[in-house]
Amino acid sequence: MIDLILTSRCTGCNACVIVCPTNVFEPRGGGPPAIARQDACQTCFMCELYCPADALYVGPDCEAPSPTDEATLLASGRLGQYRRDSGWDEWADDPRYANQHWRMDAIFARARAASARS
């Protein structure tokens, strides 16, 4: 679930307030929004995808918070991972992150073939 908004990165654009399907965030005039309803977070990572500043971190555990801090996250290289791998915004023209979802059919077929062999 959502654990942290990095105050050093957040621009206060409130994109997360708008896109969060479960209304977790509360705007706070100009500054970073508050994580007002953490227990309503559905761990869908959509806020990270829509955060142009990569200022949000959603922990992997959907049942409990995974407390962390800004310094750890900034060093982790994980901030913005979802947005980058999705090829959004400034990554749109980078061929390394081109949408390859269409390979899904072939992957399913290879999984079926592998399981038939085993």
């Binding site: 979802y82 791998d85 959004w88 749109a92 949408n99 390859q100 979802h101 059919d105 399913f108 999984a111």
Partner: protein, 541 residues
């Protein structure tokens, strides 16, 4: 590409809320609701789309990567072959005519999204339409709908339908949970596209999918069908929401002592895994995943690795604990019964689409998986939107009819209010609907016990849930989940056999006499009405 966000509606603010009018009101901004709004607008209607969360990020499509049932018209015979294969899996409850309809409409409609979705090409340069990434798909639907003039109201959950004295649906009411106050939309036609009910199982993207549309539709007089086909489960790393199952085609499973479990990937994996999980923890390894697939996964499913990376787990090297997450009617089948080819539910002015509508005509007793389900959502959305637009603009339409709110349970308690909290009802429902021994391995006596418990939760909800001080959305969601649970169990008890995903330990075989759909009527008192026919074919007695 820069993300453009539309601000929450600021046209009319006020503590008491707003009243708006449109030809068509679409309730729900997922795959089906998006296509419904687009189709209604293309038909010339004025359209308002209300969404509980955000149209673009809400729902089970936004977090997934739906493929569509994609069968070219050539060579001749390809479609009839695909339909025959699918109809065999529907186990007597499918309808080839509906399958043909959704294949055809999907084929013609999906490419119209091209100006808004960057359909990739494969190595041979052929444009790939069939599978889309969820967030980009929903973002494209939002932009197209917006360009067609659809008025999108995010964070506007619907609480109830509004009907005129003749029973025709003429609008809906709900909450403006960010702007404050209530909303009322008067509309000539209303499309329910609120998704299915996953009983708050932590299925990815499904927190808002509490069956609201099923309850609203039934309160207006619509029937349900196929609610026993609500026992689909998907594997996920334990304590995560990441129910993206493709990679588990390469999975090996182990018990807590490291012994290999002989569970081959395939259709029976759920029952085998559920049995193992009832015995103890189950670990998984994805070490058989080929290297080239590992390398490309972040660009195929960009969210798949997020929980692993953040847990410090390398799923291709480390064994990790897994769980099975219930999907309820989401990748199950049941929902409101469509009474005609246009997505009408048999109530004037009311239509249903996507997971809110029973998918039995195309899926029968088995889940349609991603492909049939997405084609169903697109097609029923498009038909419902178009039909609602036609209905709203018929010469005899009465504009701005007055109406009454139809919501009862969770909104207007029959007795002393406030004595039961939504969380209590939600907890009781989850305890009957999610455990493997109650839903994967059903039996008559267990279902009867579940129904008794659910009946008590329902009575408590009816009498006490939701008053002026309560969180009206949570109360209403709890009521909707309780209603859906009662329909699922009632139908599962009536289907005294095993068929497709509905498996009864006390009746493990299929009964040819039950090769028919089970319709349900009623909210408080539920009637089971076995259909006499499937599709257009008469069933022999």
């Amino acid at each position: 590409m820069v993300v453009r966000l539309t601000s929450p509606d600021t046209a009319a603010r006020g503590a008491d809320g707003v009243t708006l009018a449109a030809d068509v009101l679409v309730i729900g901004g997922g795959l089906a609701g998006g296509w419904a709004a687009i189709a209604a607008a293309r038909a010339g209607a004025s359209v308002i789309l209300v969404e509980k969360g955000y149209f673009g990020a809400s729902g089970v499509t936004a977090t997934a990567g739906p493929g569509h049932w994609w069968v070219p018209p050539d060579p001749a015979g390809a479609r009839s072959q695909a339909i025959a294969q699918r109809n065999a899996r529907a186990l007597g409850l499918g309808d080839p005519r509906w399958m043909e309809r959704i294949i055809d409409l999907t084929w013609r409609t999906l490419p119209t999204l091209a100006p808004y979705y960057d359909f990739p090409t494969n190595e041979a340069g052929v444009t790939q339409f069939r599978g889309l990434r969820g967030p980009e798909y929903l973002r494209a639907l939002r932009r197209l709908a917006s360009d067609l003039g659809v008025r999108i109201l995010d964070h506007h959950p619907a609480l109830e339908l509004v009907a005129d004295p003749d029973g025709a649906v003429v609008g809906a009411k709900g909450l403006r949970r960010q702007a404050g106050g209530d909303w009322l939309v008067r509309a000539g036609g209303v499309v329910l596209a609120t998704g299915g009910c996953a009983f708050r199982s932590r299925l990815l993207g499904a927190h808002n999918n509490t069956g609201d549309g099923l309850l609203m539709g039934a309160e207006a007089g619509a029937e349900l069908s196929g609610m026993e086909f609500s026992s689909y489960y998907t594997v996920a790393p334990a304590r995560t929401t990441m129910t993206r199952s493709m990679s588990y085609g390469f999975a090996r499973y182990f018990d807590a002592d490291g012994r290999r479990l002989e569970i081959a990937p395939g259709p029976d994996v759920t029952r085998a895994l559920a049995a193992a999980l009832l015995r103890g923890p189950v670990l998984c390894s994805l070490e058989d995943t080929p290297q080239d697939i590992r390398a490309v996964m972040p660009q195929v499913q960009p969210n798949f690795m997020l929980p692993f990376d953040r847990m410090g787990v390398d799923p291709y090297r480390d064994r990790f604990e897994i769980t099975l997450t219930g999907e309820g009617t989401v990748r199950g089948v049941g929902g409101l019964r469509l009474a005609d080819d246009d997505g009408g539910v048999g109530v004037p002015g009311l239509y249903a689409a996507g997971d809110t509508a029973s998918r039995e005509p195309v899926a029968g007793a088995n889940s349609g998986g991603g492909a049939q389900n997405s084609a169903w959502a697109l097609s029923t959305g498009a038909w419902a939107g178009e039909a609602a637009a036609r209905f709203a603009r018929r010469p005899t339409a009465r504009r701005m009819s007055r109406g009454e709110g139809l919501g009862r349970v969770g909104l207007r308690p029959a007795r002393r209010a406030g004595a039961v909290a939504p969380g209590e009802i939600e907890g009781a429902v989850k305890a009957e609907m999610l455990p493997y021994d109650k839903t994967v391995f059903r039996s008559g006596p267990r279902l009867a016990r579940s129904l008794e418990t659910l009946e008590e939760a329902w009575k408590a909800s009816r009498d006490h849930l939701g008053d002026g001080a309560a969180d009206r959305l949570r109360s209403r969601e709890a009521a909707a989940m309780a209603a859906a649970a009662r329909w699922c169990c009632t139908s599962a008890l009536a289907r005294n056999e095993s068929r497709g995903m509905h498996q009864r330990t006390d009746a493990p075989a299929s009964d040819p006499r039950l090769a028919r759909r089970l319709r349900l009527r009623g909210v408080d008192r539920i009637l089971v009405l076995p259909e006499r026919t499937v599709g257009r074919e008469e069933i022999l007695p």
